[in-house]
């Protein structure tokens, strides 16, 4: 019998119970509505293979949990269907370097 609270679309992975991030198994278009852990979630942006989105509300300061492990902390409130990445999540250890000129590491280099 299918458990209605864990029912999840085939295009999506929730890697462990208790995770608050869903992972796309293929590229999924913006506006797509999917069932994740029994909840209907509409994607607000396109999500590429391997990338993450929220399927429930994640408050600013809350840990992101993937495969049962904390992978960072939300820097703002995140709504169901929101793409989760460096714009709304940061490391608990060392910030991620990008080629964005505003990045701390780039500034230090000059």
């Amino acid at each position: 019998m299918t458990n209605t609270t864990t029912r999840t679309d085939d295009r999506v992975l929730v890697l462990a119970p208790g995770d608050n991030v869903a992972v796309a198994k293929s590229d999924i278009a913006s506006g797509t509505t999917l069932t994740v852990m029994g909840q209907a979630v509409t994607l607000r942006t396109r999500v590429e293979v391997g990338h993450k989105f929220a399927f429930r509300k994640v408050a600013k300061g809350e840990k992101l949990v993937k495969y049962g492990a904390p992978i960072g902390v939300a820097t703002q409130d995140i709504a169901p269907g929101d793409y989760m990445h460096i714009h709304n999540v940061t490391s608990d250890y060392i910030p991620t370097y990008t080629l964005d000129e505003g990045h701390e590491f780039f500034k230090e280099a000059h």
Partner: protein
Amino acid sequence: MINAYLRPDGRKGIRNTIVVAYLVECAHHVSREIVFPYREQGVHLIGFPGCFPNVYSHRMMERLCTHPNVGAALLVSLGCEGFNKGKLQETIRKSGRPVKLIEIQGTGGTRKTIAEGKAWIEQTLKQLEDAPRTPMSVDELVVGTICGGSDATSGLTANPAMGRAFDFLVEKDATCIFEETGELIGMEHWMAARAENPVLGEEIVKTVAKAAKYYAAYGHASIGPGNADGGLTTIEEKSLGAYAKSGQSVISGIIKPGDVPIRGGLYLLDVVPDGEPRFGFPNISDNAEIAELIACGSHVILFSTGRGSVVGSAISPVIKVCANPHTYKRMSDDMDVDAGRILEGRATLDEVGREIYDLIMRVSNGEQTKSEDLGHQEFILTYKSFEPIGPACFPSAA
């Protein structure tokens, strides 16, 4: 059973390579010119660029020049550099391998040194044709693993599939080595729980704490712009994926670059220098880690990639396992295994793990990997500083 090459020191190799090693950057061009005509005949270029001596890099060069895949070594010195060339030559000679040392200054410059080096290569290639063969079983095999150009698919497909292959190998008492302690940040307590004993578990936690401190001192984690473009948000998330390469076996010990495990099992290679951070980032790119895995005896390297790395290595063949189905379609010429099939529902983790295991056996019996066939023989060695491992790190040695 593998049909291996038997070296005079008793070690067994799966390739019959001659290394040409420059002992300072000033001898690099001359060495490359010596190698060039023979680059498709198993003659590989390695070397150390620095003029100042370094215990770590000396030990690395000794291990690499006496690696079981290596049948002979040509050392190329400018003449005035700090590298202890006589000591290196003596170590190789004692291993029973043919070795020659040429000094560019004493030989009379570029042209004469290249001619003398090539003459030695011609003669040594003929000599190595008669290298004795011997049966080698899986429990004598050493396999290292690394990920490079990772993306968010790496931890879902290629890394856990390589972890399965590691589990199959460890079951047969092969030696498996995983590394990148800077990419195991956040995983230390999970790893500690898998240690052979609690004391080793404590050492694992300390090793990862050392890596986190080291990278923090440079203000940069082991995660790059391409990783972020590929959906990896934080170093913890990258670590979670990288950790999957280790499989699920018991962790038998911690080793440092150049330590060759004395019995089979799963080992964590600590690649982050000891002491205060100096000499820069622990590994400036993937090939620095591959060179260290090879110095620990790895006959074969498993390399997972999501974004699409093309590298191979000098000395040991590199098997490329592609995590991302889009990347595989774009770069299949460079990829040995298509692990993205797992996401597409066309294969299971166990099936791809078994495919990797079978490929390791075929490559050990001479089948060329994609990167070997394409002529990739990348190599990097720079400065580092290590303390020897403590007894708690290597319970089986006690």
